[in-house]
């Protein structure tokens, strides 16, 4: 079983290479991508089973002696995230295919590279290999973001690229500093060094700052709302489900292993969580387009996601994991619903939309369910996560943070109602009544069209294609309600993983003995 740990990283890379070779055969590309994703999900489920009692599993690449081998290790947290990210990616790809966004011959190849980076970041137990996985993920994301090649994408791409490149360089500097002190970059040897050695804490702190940029923690969040509104809607859904969440995962991993849950850092983490929640939600108020609001809420939710780091109790970490797992899917569903609206009406501006509940009732449901889950309204999965998290905050004595979390939830609900009012209620606007049934869907500017003789865009065939746009978001919305109703089962599944994060003995033993 442990030898299979390399597959989540290797398989998508192989699939990406084959996708480049077969770039004229879209059906083959799709089959290949889904096969590799299916295998990764199956491996992930197997890993969840193996690690469900708090255990961990590890393997080393190349059998190099101590401190030199690259180790891949998975515990309950990583296994659960692996399954969730892979499933969300599969649904996001269904949306991309429904929208025709994979018309670009390299789209699926790039998505595969992105997935390889994400899965590699989740499974690696080596700081430098983590850096490499991040780069694999980011290089694919740079290209996916600028794939449409328009003026705004180029500009947003330049900002996104510059910020992330700077963060990557800082990550590398931190790794070098840490290596200079400890002499290794394996998590097994790095366990607790930041808590015991102040020099190592400087290096690890530099790494944490770099990861915080990628996670979108305030004040390093400015790139996120600028980039996510400019890329293709399906790309935005994929990014929202994968990119920043990997940053959050890394923060959890680093704090659990390298910092060994050092309590001296918690006030700072709590401060970052609180400020991130508030700044994100205030930013969303000023936006008048669906994706702009959603992107700022993404910043705000990162605050909730890192709140457990500042509390670091069993209840808080369990709540945090429940929240992270469901939020990842919910946010992707919201971006997919926003993308469906944009595709059908050719605009994302609230001022120009209205009354879609009459023309597209299923789309309204597909938006409403994840929106309620994001705001934390029962009986959705978001309610479970938020309730547990706020309860844990009050139990841990962080009354101010608990109160902020409650208030920010109200503002989140307010923003969701704003989108609902703007898009779905009221009188239908001309954009809504005259859907672009003949307009181009997906990449209007396929910069790499293989056959110039074929038309660069294909018409959206009225009703049949709309189902392909709505179904992915709707499926996640229904799942969010079902998970909300079956919450005790999810909590039982997540609790051992949370314990293993708080006391990563099994993980460290697996890593050092691999």
């Amino acid at each position: 079983m442990s030898q299979l740990l390399i597959l989540p990283f290797a398989l998508p890379l192989v699939a990406a290479a084959l996708c480049v070779l077969w770039r004229e055969h879209r059906a083959a590309q799709r089959a290949l991508t889904y096969t590799s994703l299916g295998v990764v999900i199956a491996i992930g489920l197997g890993l969840v089973r193996v690690t469900r009692d708090g255990g961990a599993i590890a393997t080393d690449i190349g059998s190099w002696p101590g401190g030199l081998a690259i180790i891949y290790a998975v515990d309950g947290f990583a296994a659960l995230l692996l399954v969730t990210t892979a499933s969300v990616a599969a649904i996001g790809l269904a949306f991309a295919i429904g929208r025709g966004e994979d018309r670009h011959p390299l789209f699926l190849a790039l998505v595969n590279v992105l997935l390889a980076g994400v899965f590699g970041s989740l499974t690696t137990a080596d700081l430098f290999n983590l850096f490499v996985s991040y780069e694999v993920m980011l290089i694919a994301s740079y290209v996916l973001l600028t794939l449409r090649g328009g003026r705004r994408q180029t500009r947003a791409g330049a900002i996104y690229l510059a910020v992330n490149l700077l963060a990557s360089t800082v990550f590398l500097l931190g790794t070098a500093l840490l290596y200079g002190v400890v002499g290794t970059v394996g998590f097994g040897e790095l366990a607790g060094v930041a808590a015991s050695d102040p020099r190592a804490a400087i290096g690890a702190g530099v790494v944490v700052v770099a990861v915080a940029v990628k996670a979108g923690v305030v004040p390093m969040h400015g790139w996120l709302p600028r980039a996510y509104v400019e890329c293709g809607p399906a790309v935005a859904a994929l990014f929202s489900g994968l990119l920043t969440k990997v940053g959050v995962y890394t923060l959890f991993r680093l704090y659990s292993v390298v910092f060994a849950g050092d309590p001296d850092w918690r006030p700072m983490l709590l401060l970052a969580a609180g400020v991130t929640m508030v700044v994100g939600v205030i930013g969303a108020i000023g936006r008048g387009d669906i994706r702009g609001i959603l992107a700022f809420h993404m910043v705000s939710q990162v605050g909730y996601l890192i709140l457990p780091l500042g509390l670091w109790t069993t209840a808080a970490v369990t709540a945090g994991l429940v929240y992270l797992l469901q939020y990842l899917a919910v946010k992707a569903a919201l971006f997919m619903a926003a993308g469906a609206v944009e595709t059908l009406t050719a605009t994302g501006s609230l001022a120009r939309l209205g009354g879609m509940v009459h023309t597209r009732p299923m789309l309204a449901v597909a938006f409403l369910l994840p929106a309620l889950a994001l705001a934390g309204v029962p009986p959705t999965s978001g309610f479970v996560g938020k309730f547990l998290l706020i309860l844990a905050a009050f139990e841990a004595g962080a009354y101010l943070l608990g109160a902020i979390a409650v208030i920010v939830s109200f503002f989140t609900l307010l923003s969701m109602i704003k989108i609902w009012n703007g898009v779905f209620w009221g009188e239908p606007t001309p954009e809504v009544t005259h859907e672009h049934t003949e307009g181009p869907v997906g990449l209007a500017v396929p910069t790499g069209t293989l056959r110039p003789s074929s038309p660069p865009t294909s018409p959206l065939v009225a009703r049949g294609r709309a189902a392909e746009l709505i179904a992915p978001a709707l499926s996640i919305g229904v799942a969010a309600v079902l998970v909300g109703l079956a919450a005790p089962a999810l909590i039982d599944l997540v609790a051992p993983a949370a314990d293993a994060l708080l006391a990563p003995d099994a993980y460290l033993e697996a890593v050092t003995s691999a």
Partner: protein, 135 residues
């Protein structure tokens, strides 16, 4: 000490260039910052920590790990720099300049397919990707 000064100078120059507005200058800044990181990795190496990696070796050995790190980092930063320069080229083509703080593009306007279509009319947006794709 020499390494520390070199890292400091490279980081200072790189930071200055990254704060400029043109993408080409930003790219050059990242080249310098990348060199700073690589130099720091080299300086972080040491041989006292572990034995010679290959059995039977003797004498003074350089720490092999930072070299492997540095090589990987150089390759990655090379690839990203190439992409950044492509973006600068694309930017000149689509925008007419490579200034990232261009105020002529409205910030909070509608997004979505209609926007693409407006831009799509521009023939320069159909850039072929490789010679094979060229009509």
């Amino acid at each position: 000490m020499t390494a520390a000064i070199i890292v400091g100078l490279l980081a200072a120059g790189g930071t200055y260039l990254v704060l400029q507005r043109g993408i080409v200058r930003i790219a050059l800044g990242f080249v310098l910052l990348g060199h700073a990181a690589t130099t720091l990795l080299m300086a972080a190496g040491g041989v006292a920590r572990r034995d010679v990696p290959f059995a039977g070796g003797s004498g003074a050995m350089a720490d092999p790990l930072p070299q492997a790190f540095g090589l990987t980092a150089i390759v990655i930063s090379f690839g990203v720099t190439a992409f950044l320069l492509t973006l600068a080229f694309r930017s000149r083509d689509a925008l007419g300049h490579d200034d990232v703080e261009d105020r002529s593009i409205p910030e909070d306007r509608v997004v979505g397919p209609d926007h693409d279509r407006r831009l799509g009319a521009h023939p320069r947006d159909h850039l072929p990707m490789t010679s094979r794709d060229r009509p």
